[in-house]
């Protein structure tokens, strides 16, 4: 058991990677064999992520995994520098791993039924596992260049998932846009890594963090990293690709793409708190993050308001939620020099919202995928009265929608309330924008729900029924997550969110010392 937890960080990446390349081969044996393989891979990965999380949360200290055999003992004694590629998993990484595991698990099982009668499914599952492997890699790695490599793996896998159905016109446009923006963001990150390496001769995050001086070149590198990672997370004004990607990708994938955006956001937070936490003015950078966050929230919600395409509407909703996470963590960063009480609350809110957003947005994408699959249209004006045939789907959609809009007693409220409370302490204006946007988002979803599900049964939509149990079960699982996290937020905040928030907010020294020694 201990060997399993020791090797969990690398197995989380190796198993889906191996699965990704085995899928097309096993797929030759038939659909059943392939589904068994993919199902096993995601189950094992989810188990490992849970195991790793329990281990890291109870230990309370970062776990180090050294690639290529343990010839060093960590922490290193004085004067030694890390030369191998390291994985460093602290509570924040483990927390992100849990989110990815949840989405990969539900997404894969939803996909089995979703792709039952469609072509290209072997390719789809191969890319799905590749994307999962890349996301885990970004979250576990302790090395800047390694981070870039995983970032590019997710870029290629994600863009391919958006556009691999080459017979669909709009998916090609979306695919090109996504790949171009992802590549650009990756190159910004690589240039920044080059700038840092040129000055300090290190790629390891802990070693770099302990040496950064905050020179002009460092600030340029920070600017490049901030731009690149915010672009990949879909923050306004670099969000043009995000609604296209979420909207055009197959429904189960959209949820994984959101997890991918969150992984970039995790990279951004890691860079801001751990790498640059002590060498640049965190107050100024925090306010930049807050401004980006407010723009993202506002533009995301207002653009969602004018959509007539169900999937694109949910996609803009998902864009706006990225803003709430950035707002929470941005407030935490802005005050991290003085560390007042509400800073930690803001961090808890922002980080808790990552998990809640993954569950709610995943649920909404699954439900809208089921609706589009059953009705054969994405146009809200052509739908209507779907609740007659799709009772359970409409309930799932409604729960996801009100939870995302932050209505109690669901999980979105639990995390957004923490964000409002802390943002209000920093500046009431921030809280006002955040609350107003949440209300607008509720209006958006009321409109969508009314247009799609309510009203009399139309003749064109008379044939729709609830999807098969294979698609209902993942949705029900996410509904359970949404409800349970909403009813008992205190328990989850105490046990999994607070360690993650503290690892970012207070854990910079622990992160560095775990590698270099105190």
């Amino acid at each position: 058991m201990t060997a399993l937890t020791t090797h969990a960080p690398v197995l989380l990446i190796a198993i889906p990677l191996l699965g990704a390349f085995a899928t097309p081969l096993i797929g030759k044996l038939g659909r059943g064999a392939r589904n068994t393989l993919v199902g096993l891979v995601v189950l094992v990965v989810a188990g490992l992520a849970a195991l790793l999380a329990v281990d890291v949360f109870t230990a309370g200290a970062p776990t180090i995994y050294e690639m290529g055999g343990g010839t060093f003992t960590f922490p290193l004694s004085g004067g030694q520098v890390p030369v191998r590629i390291l994985f460093e998993v602290d509570s924040m990484s483990a927390f992100m791993g849990l989110i990815t595991a949840l989405i990969a698990l539900t997404g894969a099982f939803f996909s089995f039924s979703y792709w039952k009668d469609r072509s290209g499914s072997n390719l789809y599952f191969s890319l799905f596992l590749l994307l999962t492997a890349g996301i885990f890699g970004m979250q576990m790695t302790g090395d800047m260049f390694n981070f870039f490599v995983f970032l590019e793996i997710t870029s290629i896998a994600a863009a391919s998932l958006v556009g691999f159905r080459v017979w669909l016109k709009q998916s090609q446009e979306a695919g090109f846009k996504v790949m171009a923006m992802y590549t650009l963001s990756g190159l910004f990150v690589l240039l920044a890594i080059g700038l840092l390496y040129g000055q300090y001769g290190h790629l390891n995050i802990a070693a770099l963090a302990s040496r950064l001086t905050g020179s002009l070149t460092d600030v340029i590198a920070l600017g490049l990293l901030l731009t690149g990672l915010a672009m990949k997370a879909g923050a306004v004004p670099m969000h043009m690709w995000a609604p296209d990607a979420y909207g055009e990708a197959p429904a189960p994938t959209s949820a994984v793409l959101v997890a991918n955006s969150q992984a970039s956001l995790y990279g951004l937070f890691r860079v801001l708190f751990t790498l640059f936490g002590a060498s640049v003015s965190t107050g100024a950078v925090g306010w930049i993050l807050i401004v980006l966050a407010l723009l993202t929230i506002f533009v995301g919600v207002t653009m969602a308001l004018i959509q007539n395409d169900l999937k694109r509407l949910v996609a803009y909703g998902a864009v706006s939620q990225i803003g709430y996470m950035m707002l929470g963590v941005g407030v935490g960063l802005a005050v991290s020099a003085t560390k007042p009480e509400f800073g930690l609350v803001a961090m808890q809110g922002g980080i808790f919202h990552m998990l809640n957003d993954a569950a709610c947005v995943g649920l909404l994408f699954f439900a809208s995928g089921a609706v589009i699959r059953a009705s054969g249209t994405r146009d809200l004006n052509a739908m209507g009265g779907l609740a007659h045939g799709m009772k359970w789907t409409s309930v799932c959609f409604a729960i996801g929608a009100v939870a995302l809009a932050g209505v109690p007693p669901f999980n979105g409220f639990a995390s957004k309330f923490l964000i409002y409370e802390a943002a209000f302490k920093l500046s009431p204006f921030l809280a006002v924008i955040a609350v107003l946007s949440s209300i607008l988002l509720l209006a958006v979803f009321v409109k969508a729900f009314q247009a799609a599900f309510l009203g009399p049964r139309t003749t064109a939509m008379a044939h729709v029924t609830d999807p098969s149990p294979g698609m209902m079960l993942p949705m029900v699982a996410l509904v359970l997550v949404v409800v349970v996290f909403g009813l008992f937020p205190g328990f989850f905040v105490d046990h999994i969110v607070t360690p993650a928030a503290k690892a970012l907010w207070l854990g910079r020294d622990a992160y560095i010392n775990a590698v270099l020694g105190g």
């Binding site: 260049f145 490599v149 590019e152 870029s155 290629i156 863009a159 391919s160 556009g163 080459v166 016109k169 709009q170 090609q172 446009e173 979306a174 695919g175 090109f176 846009k177 790949m179 171009a180 992802y182 590549t183 650009l184 990756g186 190159l187 690589l190 240039l191 890594i193 080059g194 390496y197 040129g198 790629l203 609604p243 296209d244 909207g247 055009e248 653009m303 004018i306 959509q307």
Partner: protein, 116 residues
């Protein structure tokens, strides 16, 4: 001959030209060219970081005594980055091919069914 900071200037120019092309050109293929230019600039920058004037190739067992080697890590980084660049360029170009097949044009002003 000492080439000084010339490679850094060349790298910066490549990135600047690439960004200009990416931001202001309207043809999908030219956008891909712009991205490739940025990528080449970054690769040149990485290789230059590891260069030492008069240094020999970093093969430890063959190194004569007391001779400077160029740094091996940036070369490994550049090689990785080139391979990744190959994959991204191939993917971008194949998307461009399919966009042309569906829309009959490569002009981004006409390829915009997804907006708003």
């Amino acid at each position: 001959m000492n080439i000084g900071n010339l490679p850094f200037i060349a790298a910066a120019l490549l990135v600047a030209f690439g960004l200009y092309t990416f931001l202001f050109k309207r043809n999908l293929i030219k956008l891909v060219i712009g991205i490739t230019l940025i990528e080449m600039g970054v690769n040149l920058f990485l290789v230059t970081l590891g260069y030492r004037t008069g240094g020999i190739s970093p093969i430890y067992t063959y190194a004569p005594e007391a001779q400077q080697m160029v740094l091996p890590t940036p070369q490994a980084l550049t090689l990785t980055s080139i391979v990744i660049g190959l994959a991204t360029t191939a993917l971008l170009l194949s998307f461009a091919v399919f966009v042309h097949r569906h829309y009959g044009t490569l002009d981004i002003r006409k390829v915009k069914e997804l907006k708003g």
